[in-house]
């Protein structure tokens, strides 16, 4: 069960809303109408200057019809970071045999580090 809290600032939420809106080719007027707020308020929300009600927050989630991983994908611990993505890209360029070798090497390194950890404890 996940209990970790990720402290978010309103500025980050606002910039995320702006990015999603642009990604879906929505104008501020379009999105404001769908959320049920004034365009000027949405503009200030995107700049992190406007505090929202629970209703509005949930309506935003509803309008974008997405899960939380999509909403704040760059901040989730399970999300792929650039470095992880690069490792995956390189991995897929290898032959199946080389991929197996890499996996064996990872297993070897994991077991080695586990042993080290047990000793130090």
């Amino acid at each position: 069960m996940m209990t970790t809290k990720f402290k978010k600032q309103s500025l980050l939420v606002g910039s995320r809303i702006r990015a999603l809106r642009k990604d879906r080719d929505l104008t501020q007027a379009d999105l404001a109408a769908r959320i049920g707020i004034q365009q000027s308020d949405l503009c200030r929300m995107e700049n992190g200057e406007y505090k929202v009600s629970l209703e509005t927050l949930f309506r935003i989630l509803s309008v974008f019809e997405m899960n939380i991983a999509e909403f704040f994908h760059e901040d989730l611990p399970g999300a792929l970071r650039e470095r992880d993505a690069e490792v995956l890209r390189q991995f897929h360029r290898l032959s199946p045999r080389s991929q197996d070798e890499i996996l064996e090497f990872i297993q070897f390194k994991t077991q080695f580090e586990d042993r080290l950890n047990r000793k130090s404890n």
Partner: protein, 303 residues
């Protein structure tokens, strides 16, 4: 109930106004609906307008915005009576504020303020400045809101209103606005004053809002047992009096507080109850469990 219809009307109206000030909006609406019927039977247009204005005020307070707004513009267009202009403009401002139409709300609030200038009624004047401050707070113009709340309180002080209505509401709003500005200790002190006044006035709506605000404040300063206790008190009152907005806010506050206390099962219970209001949004609970949204929320924003 007196047999004289005019006396009945007056009694229903006076009692209805007390119900409004005590936060008993359902009974206030019943009274004012009866007063409207009596005024119809009497064929007295002046009494009818006053009854309709009172009914609108009670419906607004209960959250029935669409019904509250009906007919107000027509009354405002026809009347020249400053009291009626004040009440209709003020109610329209309040209805528009709850729909997020802030600029229009401010326009009507200023009209109500102008109408109020000629009336010797400091409670009304304080109320309209409180409403203007509420609009500013909903727009997140917190400094402007604080100035208006303080001005509303100064009107009350000059007029010797002491601990009378609407001083409890104004202090409670000012306190919450200070919480939004992260001035937690100062906000808590003012909300505690408001709570004492609201308790002595029997204003259950304001008492509920004070408990809700205190729950939020203590959660923000990491005094979680206090946050939980005040949240539970607010929730009990909200359920008893059917204050739906406070109920939803409390489910969020209690879910969040229990989560921060490491009590995941209790937290789940409250988030589940909040989730019931939004069946079309299955991500809600997961979202709240993952992100801290307390810094971007205004629990008093109607939309």
């Amino acid at each position: 109930m007196p047999s004289d219809p005019i006396a009945s009307y007056s009694e229903l109206t006076a009692e209805g106004q007390i119900f409004v000030r005590h936060g008993d909006f359902r009974r206030a609406i019943d009274n004012f609906e009866q007063a409207v019927r009596l005024a119809h039977d009497l064929d007295d247009s002046a009494l009818l307008v006053k009854a309709l204005c009172n009914l609108s005020t009670a419906r607004l307070a209960s959250g029935d915005i669409k019904e509250a707004e009906k007919g107000l513009r027509e009354i405002l267009l026809r009347t020249r009576d400053p009291q009626t202009i004040f009440v209709t403009s003020s109610n329209l401002a309040s209805a528009l504020r709850r729909q997020g139409r802030h600029e229009r709300a401010l326009m009507y609030a200023r009209r109500a303020l102008r109408a109020c200038e000629g009336l010797d009624n400091p409670s009304w004047k304080a109320t309209i400045h409180n409403l203007i401050a509420n609009i500013y707070m909903n727009m997140s113009y917190l400094d402007d809101a604080v100035s208006e709340y303080r001005y509303a309180l100064s009107i009350g002080e000059k007029a010797g209103l002491g601990a009378q209505w609407p001083v409890d509401y104004i202090k409670e709003n000012l306190g919450y606005c200070l919480l939004l500005k992260k001035r937690y200790r100062q906000g808590i002190a003012i909300i505690l004053e408001a709570l004492q006044i609201a308790l002595s006035n029997g204003n259950s709506r304001c008492v509920g809002e004070c408990y809700q605000d205190l729950s939020f404040a203590y959660m923000q300063i990491k005094e979680y047992p206090q946050a939980r206790d005040h949240g539970e008190k607010a929730l009990d009152l909200a359920i008893k009096n059917e204050y739906k907005d406070i109920q939803k806010n409390c489910y969020y506050l209690l879910g969040e507080t229990h989560l921060l206390m490491g009590e995941d099962v209790k937290s789940d219970e409250y988030f589940d109850r909040l989730q019931e209001y939004y069946p079309h949004l299955p991500v809600l609970k997961e979202f709240l469990r993952t992100f801290d949204v307390s810094n971007i929320l205004n629990l008093k924003n109607p939309v």
